[in-house]
């Protein structure tokens, strides 16, 4: 148990902060994923074949390749790609992205592919008549989308989004390659340093279980709140 002491002797405080990092990365990745989903969901629903295939390529490729490879590719190729884009705009100095954002982005790309599928499903299941009705009533497009479609979509999407959250949270265990010290990397370091892998990996499992359990409680509450009136 002294392995978990806080302070210089034990690994308690390090693991505590690593847990906070895991939470922060998961939330940031989820938000980045939403941004990706906001970009790609309209493409997937578009009638334009070209736009449609871009949307499909994103979700198919990302969901069809192991997360570990996506993360490696982003880690080693990401800054090169960003610099390439920057050089088109005439910026040629080195652009550096910090470890936290590299990690969040690589998980965010993955999370976004799953979110896109969820939003697409939710939008498609909204009755088409509602779009027509809103038009007939003379609502403009803006009101139509934000006041009528979006709330319904979110309500339909929340149960599936909690699955995406679970996937995202667990995927953060793979970003230790980026050097970000989250739960998994900290446990790895502690296991190496103390030569007690059984204890530290089991403890990591307990931490992840706690996080999934607590977040599920929270999301279930959200779900009941938003499903009112149905």
């Amino acid at each position: 148990m002294e392995l978990l002491y806080f302070g210089d002797k034990g690994w308690g405080d390090e693991l505590f902060f690593a847990t906070l990092i895991t939470i922060a990365v998961s939330i940031t990745a989820m938000i980045i994923g939403f941004i990706f989903a906001a970009l790609f969901t309209p493409l997937k629903l578009s009638n334009n074949k070209f736009l449609n295939s871009i949307g499909n390529a994103y979700t198919t490729v990302i969901r069809g390749v192991p997360e570990l490879l996506v993360i490696y590719l982003f880690f080693f190729g990401g800054s090169g790609a960003i610099m390439f884009v920057a050089s088109i705009f005439g910026y040629n100095d080195y652009i550096e992205i910090n470890a936290f954002l590299t990690g969040s982005f690589s998980i965010g790309i993955i999370s976004g592919a799953y979110s896109t599928e969820v939003f697409r499903g939710a939008l498609q299941s909204i009755d088409k008549g509602q779009f027509e009705a809103a038009k007939v009533l003379g609502f403009n497009k803006y009101i139509n989308f934000f006041k009528i479609i979006l709330p319904q979509m979110l309500r339909l999407a929340i149960p599936n989004l909690s699955n995406v959250w679970q996937i995202t949270l667990k995927d953060t265990s793979l970003i230790s390659v980026t050097g970000l010290v989250e739960i998994m990397r900290q446990s790895y370091i502690a296991a190496g340093s103390t030569r007690d892998p059984l204890f530290f990996y089991s403890f990591a499992a307990v931490l992840y279980l706690m996080l999934t359990f607590l977040s599920m409680q929270l999301l279930n509450r959200l779900e009941t709140k938003y499903s009112k009136g149905y």
Binding site: R63, V65, L68, L69, L73, K170, A204, Y208
Partner: protein, 225 residues
């Protein structure tokens, strides 16, 4: 981009794909049995048995696969007592450690899929069939089983793809699967992007095949209920 390296590494990666497919198929078969067992336990009326089965699936679905592999490989390997038992014959081998972790993981998800499939087998069908004079054995094989398969196919198809991606973690316990060989090539050429793109393409191709096979099966069983 080093196109030559990409072309040269392709046959080596393709060769390693065999190990990936072996890991995948053995884990899926074992996982199906484990899943079936736990799905049946979940429907048991005994609260303790029920809770046990639920606990299993909750723990394996609530923690990352990487943690599970590390506990089984590096964690259990440190227990000196274990090394004196017959279990060590299995746990000594990285291959079997990976298989154990993958099977238990996919077993947990499979048990959930099967449980919800069983629940859709409504007793109503049985009664309706009986009143029409159809023997219950035929109702089971011709009506209930096909419905259950149809219900669980999409979810199980997803699980197969998730497991395929999961096998890439076998490389963390020294196995030379597709990802393992990709990492090995990178360790001498220092060009991760090129090699991982080729490996990613192979994974993508496999996902594509699995996806379409499942789609075909869905169509085959896709009669109206």
């Amino acid at each position: 981009m080093d196109i030559e390296l990409m072309i040269n590494s392709f046959p080596k990666l393709l060769n390693a794909t065999l190990i990936t497919l072996k890991l995948l198929s053995v884990s899926l078969i074992l996982g199906l049995f484990i899943g079936l067992g736990f799905a049946i336990l979940r429907m048991n009326n005994n609260k303790l048995i029920n809770k046990f089965a639920y606990g299993y699936s909750y723990i394996f679905r609530g923690t990352p696969l990487l943690v599970q592999i590390f506990i089984i490989y590096f964690g259990l390997g440190q227990i000196e007592y274990l090394r004196t038992t017959f279990l060590w014959v299995v746990l000594k081998e990285p291959y079997w450690c990976a298989i154990i972790a993958f099977s238990l993981n996919t077993g947990a998800y499979t048990s959930e899929i099967l449980r919800s499939a069983f629940q859709t087998i409504k007793t109503g069908y049985l009664e309706a069939g009986k009143s029409l004079g159809i023997p219950s054995k035929i109702i089971f094989t011709k009506i209930q089983i096909p419905i259950a398969i149809k219900q669980s196919l999409p979810a199980y198809g997803n699980e197969i793809i998730l497991m395929l991606k999961g096998t890439s973690l076998a490389s963390t316990v020294t196995l030379m699967d597709l990802t393992g060989v990709a990492k090995y090539i990178i360790s001498t050429t220092f060009k991760p992007v090129e090699v991982f793109i080729v490996a990613g393409g192979i994974y993508l191709f496999m996902t594509f095949i699995i996806h379409n096979v499942i789609k075909y099966l869905e169509k085959k069983y896709g009669f109206q209920t």
